[in-house]
Subunit: 327 residues, 2 copies
């Protein structure tokens, strides 16, 4: 079943207004949920919407909260998200970082006590749309063992890096786990092996079997010890700067709430566009690993999906769509 | 054979002075080479020194060059390294970023036309020693295929993140390849399989065999498509900001020279030290993957090696050490 972006967004907005969101917040959050589905990130679009609504109903998200500037270290600003909607807070934070970058070349906003931002890439596209480089990352609840351990102690702590580009922004949006639990579950349901090892089984052997990883809770960080170290240090950085909750503290609650996030932006008149095109051409000039294969840059496939979904409508899970229609 | 830090450093300095380095540059470069060996990073300490000397003799490194501020975008500074010694330029750049951070909370120096900085971690420790958070990364010559390709088009582009800490800084220093070519060669010589897959063989199968990867030139990025994307976008970011050479351009020369680097620093009075200790304790509280195993934070093993080498002397490759003594 296919639905237009406008229909999807209007439905989300209707539900959020019914939950007493202000028009501004309902508009912004509905737009982001619909855009995530439009860009093919269904896991953080329609499919996540019912969970978001539950969080609002359980008051883990305070829909009335406004983010607040609580400290300035020179140009670096520390904000408190007061447990407001994560997408709203993150948009405001990146907007502020962009504003600072346009005045000062660089802008940095670190935020504590905020909530899940859904797709991190959203705020990368936001910066790039404003003509700025954007970098952001978040901590999360523990969902991955540290290297050398077998119990979850690290978040998958996604990081986003975005570079503005006329022919389509370059946007990397990646978590520190090789596969998300959402992806593991999807493969489990479809009885499909993972394309590469995604974790360890109960016996400590690397496996492509999603069920074995879900059972052992030993999802693999990207690059083994390397992703483990990167996930760890992003959490330390966030906590050191914001004084907010670390993965350790977030994980002490059953449901993820009150995370810490970082928003960095750079602006300059000339981002040397021609040199960026040369990098893309050079990278794509490698012989493909498999006959007929192609090499893409980060963000390229997202943009292609967006265009296809704009033309043909967005595929929706009919059960979840019906659920939202009844809300 | 074991040598003291002082002996190693004095010998390096003697050679550099003989090559007409100024006393300041000889002192700084000798100190960094010796400190790299002291910290157990022998590949970028003594073992690399003869290559550095060759680069100087071939005039790929201009020992008389001084880095120059060429552009300011607000607080972000663009410097030209004028092909000076990479370690000297990088130390100056991080020093400047630290200075800016101490005045403004954040400091950013982007540098083009510089040279190999040897161990990236050096500049992370430098920032942390100054009480600052330090982030830096560099591009390199192409040594890894992009995801979906089989010919090298990406650098391994190391990134460093350092957080100051009284009981020992937290310093992550990681390249985007699962293993460096140095490590592959070391395992090949010792006829040792890699601990995890490090690349593809000529038939396109993942392999732990270092020789097969050296032959195919298909070293693996960390996390497959993820490390490929991260390596790519770091190069784009560096090139977009500095206008310097990208991996594409660096790779057009046989020898790596004229790379681009980024130095970012944050300073604030209170980095919430107690919360950082909580993260370390929480991470280490995971049951070990293997009986008797231990979990370490990034930088922990470096510091332990440093202390052992300070006490017992630094292990040197006798052939390389003899070579240096004869220089």
């Amino acid at each position: 079943m296919k639905i237009s972006f406008a229909t999807l967004k209007n439905e989300f907005k209707r539900v959020l207004l019914k939950l007493s969101f202000t028009d501004e917040k309902a508009e912004l959050c509905a737009d982001i949920f619909a855009a995530n589905s439009l860009d093919g990130v269904y896991s953080h679009g329609l499919n996540r919407f019912p969970f978001f609504v539950d969080y609002v109903k359980e008051k883990l998200i305070d829909i009335h909260a406004e983010p607040e500037l609580i400290e300035k270290n020179g140009l670096t600003e520390i904000w408190d998200g007061h447990l407001g909607p994560g997408m709203y807070n993150a948009t405001k934070a990146m907007d502020r970082a962009i504003g600072l970058a346009k005045s000062n070349g660089i802008g940095c906003v670190a935020m504590r006590n905020t909530n899940h931002w859904m797709r991190g890439g959203t705020y990368g596209w936001q910066a790039a749309d404003a003509g700025c480089i954007g970098i952001c990352f978040t901590n999360t609840t523990a969902n991955m063992p540290p290297w050398g351990g077998k119990e979850p102690r690290l978040g998958n702590n996604p990081i986003v890096i975005a570079i503005p580009r006329d022919k389509g922004h370059i946007v990397l949006d990646m978590a520190m786990s090789q596969f998300s639990y959402g992806k593991l579950q999807e493969n489990e349901i479809n009885k499909k092996e993972l394309s590469v090892s995604g974790g360890y089984d109960e016996d400590g052997n690397l496996t492509n079997n999603p069920s074995a990883i879900i059972q052992s809770r030993r999802a693999l960080p990207i690059g083994f010890w390397k992703g483990s170290g990167l996930s760890f240090i992003l959490d330390v950085l966030l906590t050191a700067v914001t004084g907010g909750q670390s993965t350790a503290q977030i994980s002490s609650n059953m449901k993820e709430s009150g995370v810490s996030q970082f928003f960095l932006s750079f602006h300059q008149d000339n981002f040397h566009h021609q040199l960026i095109e040369e990098i893309i051409q050079y990278t794509k000039s490698s012989a493909p690993a498999e006959s007929g294969g192609r090499i893409s840059y980060p963000g390229e496939n997202t943009l292609a999906t967006r265009h296809i979904n704009e033309l043909n409508g967005i595929s929706v899970n009919t059960a979840i769509w019906s659920e939202v229609l009844k809300m």
